[in-house]
Amino acid sequence: MLNQLTIAELTAQLSRKEVSAREATQACLDQIGRIDSQLHAFLSLDAHDALAQADAVDRAIAGGANATAQPLLGVPIGIKDVLAVKGAPLNCSSKILGKYVSPYDATVIEKLRAAGAVVFGRLNMDEFAMGSSTENSAFGTTRNPWDLSRIPGGSSGGSAAAVAADECVATLGSDTGGSIRQPAALCGCVGLKPTYGRVSRYGLVAFASSLDQIGPFTKDVRDSATLLEVISGIDHRDSTSLPQPVPHYRNALTGDIKGLRIGLPKEYMIGGLDPEVNSAVQAAVKQLQSLGAEIVEISLPHTDYAVATYYIVATAEASANLARFDGIRYGQRVDADDPLALYSKTRGAGFGDEVKRRIILGTYVLSSGYYDAYYLRAQKVRTLIRQDFLKAFEKVDVIVTPTTPTAAFKIGEKSDDPLQMYLSDIFTISCNLAGISGISLPCGFTSNPRLPIGLQLLGQPFGEETLLRVAQAYEQSTGWHKERPPFSAAGK
């Protein structure tokens, strides 16, 4: 089944002309048709357009196009509903955008297209990327393909579930505090959050501008490297993208991690850590050691402040970023006699509870008289958190942690307790605050029910090559990534 292939496998078959891009895209569409009514990873998709793109790729291949020049030639890639795709709906899983259709392509979408990808579908997420379960989507919760009664993680839950359930060969998501790594861990796929500034944010609907990064969901680490290489690079439309050269990430996958120093932060061994998750991570650490890495205990002393800092910085930025959704120029409007009433009614009806909660929190921390105590202080702590990491990276090449404290939880289990929900991002949040790179990859399963466990590796700013090298060496020595959920694999 072509939808089950990796990017590397599919492009190889395409270039040998054993299969067509149309067949690959059709296989994904068939899989979506077969299971997505239960999984609900997709909000919408334009099958006709996807197949037209695939046909164009087939013509290009016939004309001599190849995957060396276009590394994603013919690869069906699904897109989180937070990225602007020209002519496609853009809702951010919110009611407030109504029937909005983006008139332009995000930079990453342009790059995917240039690399030959078949870009399709709108993948479910927590509304405006605020959440850890997709339960905050205005259009229903995505299910975890390993257990349909459980959440897939979030906010990029649709992107993770779609890859894990072979609905796409790869997807894009966004990560503000763990929104790629956490769902990747809970769904059992590979999710990478690049260094802040590595990937252009132009066309990514901003949640927290100083934390957001776009990144890939893939079935293995090699594909992650391929996709990262395509989407990275400075962009004249994003002042925060950085001019660092884009390396050939796949060349970094040597399998050799002998002598690399891997840090274990003592602050991450917290009480709430699930024992099965803990033992899977400990086993992974041993595995890395057996591959020749040196394990070093490190300290990230400001870890305790990360969640609080995050929820001040992120909500402050969000309160301004989401101000534009007012019903004046686009999206759903609830009319009223004066602008103020129009705003209140439109935003009152358009935003969900969690989004409102965060806008209110963000507005509060920026308010006159509170700014210094909250926002300014949070920025200072943020600097300390970044310094913790930079100091640690003087001693180690990568840092290893669990991605999440527990495996996927039940739908509804935490939805009434925002604080518990926030704590599910406890291991991933610091990475965004520090602006460094991070990846989550499968490192085992819980026993009953059988749910994926994620291993998080954190790398230096622009340290993606080392990060990917360690991740791939581990992955290839274990094979956890080859496990597929019985739900979606059934019927093959």
Partner: protein, 474 residues
């Protein structure tokens, strides 16, 4: 008790860039509504601002022109408020780290020099424009994202006239520096006023009242002429003023309460995460500083001292820079720049208008105007003949001496020839000769005119007068 006003101004000026501040849309007035727009200036989901470097340059250049310091670190902030003309419902501005600070403007006022200190000039973005129709409203976003400089003065102004004069001086500087066209009718300059009153001699300031919605400098003056006496009257009657924002009603000629201090916005400023801080390098600043021009006041003073021009002539040149540049070019070799200035201001300018000739196409060679002046000053030709010579110079580009030579226009100072002409005229006009002898002085002018006419204007008028008088009195 005597009261005095304390006035500070916040002047918003659109920068003269080709494109808007954060996107490539044209910065252009008068296009059909919502035609100079793109996803960025409409604030569509997912877009990001990218700073227009010319906007940054013009900001710093303004700093130099207003004698400001240029901090090595500046940044952008978000100012949060909801209004339909604001595409993002926040405005990108510079809050606590502006690009320029601590300057001053010197200007002539009330027969002397005045100085207003400039707190800061910071860069921000303009918003769209709301339109209200019978049943609904619309917004034109062509203006949204146009670079806007807010120039904040210290409360150094004391009267409406002084505010008016300062605004005009500021405008002249900005036009001079190529910062802005400052076209009020196109909304390129807008001004808010902060005004308070206090008893003369008191140090503490009174309650600061902000007035908005003036759309001309004279509107600012009128608003102050209304507001200052209003505040004084309130205080004199034992009332208490409190900090508030008032709206100027230009038709009614009054200010009215817009919002009280309690209703004031909390703009929740915070650093704009989509833009990097602005840290200009020495080389960059050096490049900008090369664009600094001589300011109007300095220019006026220089024209008066270097060329000995009277103030009105110097002002003419301050107001017409190309003409002034031309003057400076042609007068380089002149012994009598003041006379050259007269020719440029009175004759050349008229000819340019009359013939619709652009200054750049003037045929007269740089050294020729001073030569013409020298011919007059040396008694070679009369000033009347000089007019004809000038007309010929303008038409053909020929040198004045050549024209005088070719047309035989040199002034006749040969007394013998003039005496002959005088004799002829006296003989032909016995009545006028009689009148003069009878004491009617005016008759001499008539006879003199006749002699000049007979000589085709070439006779030296001084000599003609002398000889006529001698002959009539003998």
């Amino acid at each position: 008790m005597e009261y005095e006003a304390v006035i500070g101004l916040e002047t918003h000026v659109q920068l003269k860039t080709k494109s808007k501040m954060w996107c490539g849309c044209a910065n252009e007035f008068g296009a059909p509504p919502n035609t100079n727009v793109c996803p960025v200036c409409l604030g569509l989901p997912g877009v990001l601002p990218v700073a227009n470097e010319e906007g940054l340059r013009l900001t710093v250049l303004t700093g130099y022109l207003l004698n400001c310091s240029i901090p090595s670190f500046a940044k952008f902030d978000r100012k949060n408020y909801f209004y339909p003309d604001a595409p993002k419902n926040y405005q990108i501005t510079q809050y606590d780290k502006p690009s320029t600070a601590h300057g001053f403007v010197d200007f002539e006022f009330a027969g002397g020099m005045s100085r207003v200190r400039i707190t800061r000039a910071h860069l921000e973005e303009d918003v769209g424009k709301n339109f209200h129709f019978a049943r609904n409203s619309g917004v034109d976003f062509n203006r949204a994202g146009v670079p806007l400089l807010e120039i904040v003065s210290e409360p150094d102004l004391t009267s409406s006239d002084m505010a008016y004069t300062y605004l005009n001086a500021l405008k002249d500087i900005l036009i001079y520096g190529g910062i802005s066209d400052c076209d009020m009718e196109k909304g390129m300059v807008r001004c808010d006023v902060n005004v308070s009153v206090r008893p003369v001699g008191q140090k503490e300031l009174g309650a600061k009242i902000e007035i908005k919605n003036m759309n001309s400098f004279s509107g600012v003056r009128r608003a102050l002429d209304y507001e200052i006496p209003r505040q004084i009257a309130v205080v004199k009657a034992g009332g208490k003023l409190s900090q508030e924002t008032r709206r100027w009603d230009d038709v009614g000629g009054i200010t009215e309460l817009m919002r009280s201090k309690e209703q004031a916005h909390d703009y929740r400023y915070f650093p704009e995460p989509d833009l990097m801080p602005f840290e200009p390098t020495a080389a960059w600043l050096e490049e900008v500083s090369r664009r600094v021009v001589e300011l109007p006041l300095a220019r006026k003073q220089r024209f008066m001292t270097a060329y000995g021009l009277p103030a009105p002539d110097a002002e003419t040149f301050v107001n017409d820079v190309p003409l002034a540049d031309y003057f400076e070019q042609v007068t380089a070799t002149a012994k009598n720049p003041k006379a050259v200035a007269n020719w440029v201001i009175n004759n050349l300018r008229a000819k340019l208008t009359e013939t619709g000739t652009p200054l750049a196409e003037v045929k007269i060679k740089p050294a020729d105007l001073p030569d013409l002046v020298a011919l007059v000053d040396g008694g070679k030709i009369s000033s009347k003949i000089a007019q004809d010579v000038f007309a010929e110079m303008f038409a053909t580009g020929e040198a004045p001496a050549a024209i005088v030579e070719k047309k035989g226009l040199a002034q006749v100072s040969d007394t013998g020839a003039i005496e002959k002409l005088c004799d002829e005229v006296i003989a032909a006009n016995p009545k006028s000769a009689e009148d003069f002898r009878a004491g009617k002085g005016a008759a001499l002018n008539f006879l003199k005119g006749q002699v000049m006419k007979l000589s085709k204007g070439k006779a030296n008028p001084g000599l003609v007068g002398e000889i006529l008088e001698r002959k009539l009195q003998s």
